[in-house]
Symmetry: C3
C-alpha cells in the first residue's frame, strides 16, 4: 500500500467520531456478554431484578471510564453525565433483554451482525486505549506504568469490572479476577498501551501518531476477526521459560526430584 | 390547609438544623438495624471485636456521605472531619451496645421511642436527598442520572453500605446487594431525587423549593408511620407488565408453552 | 543518655532518606509475608499466574499510599508514578519468587537477614505514620480521627490491604479483615498516630518533633526485635473490662444466669 494513501487513511480514521455507531457496537457486545454470562437464568432474572440488571449493564458498558476515573481520583460517575450515551446504552439494554420473543438478543446474536459489532468494538477499544494513555500522560507525565494500566483498563474495562458487575447481580466469583487469567483482549490492550507510551515518550517509533493508531486498530481487528485465541501465547511461554523459573525448575527437578505439590496446586491444575 | 400557612411552615422546616436531634435519631436507627442484623450473637461480638463494630457502625451512620463522596471523587473520609457528629455517633454506638444490662438497646427499642426516631430520621433523609441532589447538580449541571444516584445514595446510604458494613464485621453476603431487591426507602429516595431534579431543572413543578421539600418530608414520614410496606409496588408491577416483558411473556407462553427454567431460577423463586 | 546528643541523633534520623535501603527492607518484608501466606502452593502459583502475583505484591508493598490516597480522594495510582521505587519493588518480587532453586527466598528468610529487614521496616513504618498524619493534617486541619486513620493505614497498609491483595490472587477471605482482629502493628500505628496528632495539635507534648519521631521509632523497633506479641494487650483488657461491658456482664450473669449463646458465637469462640 502506498504510504501517502495510508497516512491519509490514518488521518481520516483518527477523526472518526465514536458516537453513535461505535458506542452502540460496544454496548451491544457488552450486553451480549452479560446475557451469555447469565446462561439460562437470564430471562427469569431480567424479569425479577431489572434495576440490578440495568446497573450491571451500565457498569459493564462504562467500565473503562469508571475504573480509570476511580484509579485517577476523579469522579467515578463522570461517564454517566453524558445523557446521550446513557440513553443509547439503556436502549441497547432494553433491546437485548426485554424485546418480545427475545427478538433483540436473537437478531444481534446472528453471526454476521455480531461479527460486525465486534469489529467496530475493536476500533472503539483502540480509541479508548489511545485516550486513556493520553489522559494518564497529562496527569502523570513520567509514570509509564500508570499510563499502561490506564490504557489497559480503558481498553478492556468490562473484563476488569466482571467481578463487581456480577456482584451487582448478587453473584460473587472471586476466582474470575481478570489478573489471574488475563484474556487476549487484556494482553492486547497492554501491548497497545505500551506502544502508545513508547511513541509518546521516546523516539523509538518515528511514525506519525495517526499511523500508530491505525496500525493498532488493524492489529486488534485482524486477530478478532481471524478468531485466533491468543497470538501472544508462544512469546509469553518463551519469556516464562527463560525468566520465570521454567528452565531452572526443570534443572532442579533433574537434581532433586519433583517437589511434592500441595493439594491446592493439584486442584488448580486439573 | 391555608397555602400561606403551608408556605410559612415550609420555610421554617427548611431552616431547621439537623444537628443534633436529627443526627441523633439517624444514628440510633442505624445502630438498631446493625444490632438486629447481628441477632443473638450481637453481645458476644460487641465484647470481642469492639473496633470492628465501631467502624461498622460509623460506616453505616455516615454511609450516605461516604458513598456519595466516593462516587464524586471527593475524600471518602470527609464526614469524619466533623468531630461533634462523630462524638454523637460514638455515643449512640456506646449506648446501644455497651450499657449495662443492655439498657440502652431495650430503652431505644421501646416502640414509641423507636417510632419517634424513625419519623425524625425520615426528615433527615429528605434533607439528605435534597442536599445530595443540590451537590451533584453543582458538579454536573446536566447529568440528571448522577443527581438521582447521589440523591438516592445519600437518602438511603446505610442500605447501600450494608454489604461492606457486614464485611467490616467479617460477614460476606453478596446476595444482599441493595440493587437486587431495593427496599421502599431506596425507591422513595429515588422518587424524591427525581422530583428535586425536575424542580431544579425544568418548569414542570412551579411550587417554591421549600414547599417541595416539605411535601417530600410528609410523603416519607406518612408512609413510614403508617407502616405500609411498599406503596409504589402496584405502579411498579404495572410498568413491569407493560415494558419489561410481562404481557409478551404471557403471549409467548400461550404460543410456545412455558420455557424450561434453569435450576438456579427455580431456587431463586422459592 | 545526654539530651543534647539525643536531640542531635533525632535530627539526623529525621533527615535519613527512605530510598533505597528502607524501601528495600519494606518490600522484602511484604513479599516474604505474601510468599508465606501462599504456603506450599507458592511456587506453582508463581509459575502460572505471574501477573496476578506481581499486582498482588505491588498492592501489598504500596498498600499504605494506595489506601490513604483512596480515602483522601487522591489518585490511588500515585505511588506507581515513582519509577525507581517501582523497579526496586519489582526486583524484590523477582528475587523472592523466581530466583533459581528458590535461592532469594531462602537467603532472605535466613534469620539475621530477616530480622535486619524487619528492624529497618519499623523505621520505615514510623516515617510513614509521621508523613501520613502530616498529610492528613494539611487537608483536614481539625479532623483528629482522619489523621489517626491515615496514620494507621500508612503505617500498616499491607495488613489492611490483605483481603484485597488475596482477592487479586483469586482468594476471598472476608473473615480476615484487619479490623476484626487488629495485629500489634496496627495498634502500635494507631498509638503512634495519636502521639503525632497530640504533638501537632496540642501543647501536651513539649518535645521537639524530631525527638517524638525518634521515640516512636525506638518503640516500634524495640517491641519488634524483642518479639513480644502484644504489649498493649493488658491495657486493652483492662479498658474492655471497665468500659466495654466486662464488669457489668459478670454482674448480670450473677443475677440472671449466663445468657444462652447463639451457635455462631460458640463457633467463633472455639
Amino acid at each position: 500500500m502506498d504510504p501517502e494513501a495510508f497516512l491519509d487513511l490514518a488521518n481520516q480514521v483518527a477523526k472518526v467520531k465514536m458516537y453513535p455507531y461505535f458506542d452502540l457496537a460496544h454496548a451491544v457486545v457488552c450486553c451480549l456478554i452479560i446475557k451469555e454470562d447469565m446462561g439460562s437464568g437470564a430471562i427469569a432474572f431480567s424479569r425479577k431484578h431489572p434495576l440490578a440488571l440495568w446497573f450491571s449493564s451500565m457498569m459493564s458498558i462504562f467500565a473503562g471510564s469508571i475504573i480509570a476515573n476511580f484509579l485517577l481520583g476523579e469522579p467515578s460517575l463522570t461517564p454517566f453525565k453524558n445523557n446521550n450515551q446513557l440513553l443509547l446504552a439503556t436502549g441497547v439494554w432494553y433491546v437485548i433483554f426485554y424485546l418480545p420473543f427475545d427478538f433483540g438478543y436473537k437478531a444481534l446474536k446472528f453471526l454476521p451482525v455480531k461479527m460486525g459489532c465486534e469489529a467496530l468494538k475493536e476500533v472503539y477499544r483502540a480509541k479508548q486505549v489511545h485516550d486513556g494513555v493520553g489522559h494518564a500522560a497529562k496527569l502523570f507525565p513520567n509514570a509509564y506504568l500508570v499510563m499502561v494500566i490506564i490504557g489497559a483498563v480503558k481498553g478492556n474495562g468490562d473484563a476488569f469490572m466482571r467481578v463487581l458487575e456480577r456482584l451487582a447481580r448478587g453473584l460473587w466469583t472471586p476466582e474470575s479476577v481478570e489478573l489471574i487469567r488475563p484474556t487476549f483482549a487484556t494482553k492486547a490492550s497492554v501491548v497497545a498501551s505500551a506502544v502508545f507510551v513508547l511513541h509518546k515518550k521516546t523516539d523509538l517509533i518515528s511514525a506519525p501518531a495517526s499511523c500508530v493508531h491505525l496500525i493498532i486498530i488493524i492489529f486488534f481487528v485482524y486477530f478478532k476477526v481471524l478468531g485466533i485465541s491468543d497470538p501472544l501465547l508462544p512469546l509469553e511461554n518463551v519469556l516464562k521459560k527463560i525468566f520465570l523459573g521454567g528452565i531452572f525448575d526443570t534443572l532442579q527437578e533433574t537434581f532433586y526430584g519433583k517437589p511434592e505439590e500441595s493439594e491446592e496446586a493439584k486442584k488448580d491444575e486439573s
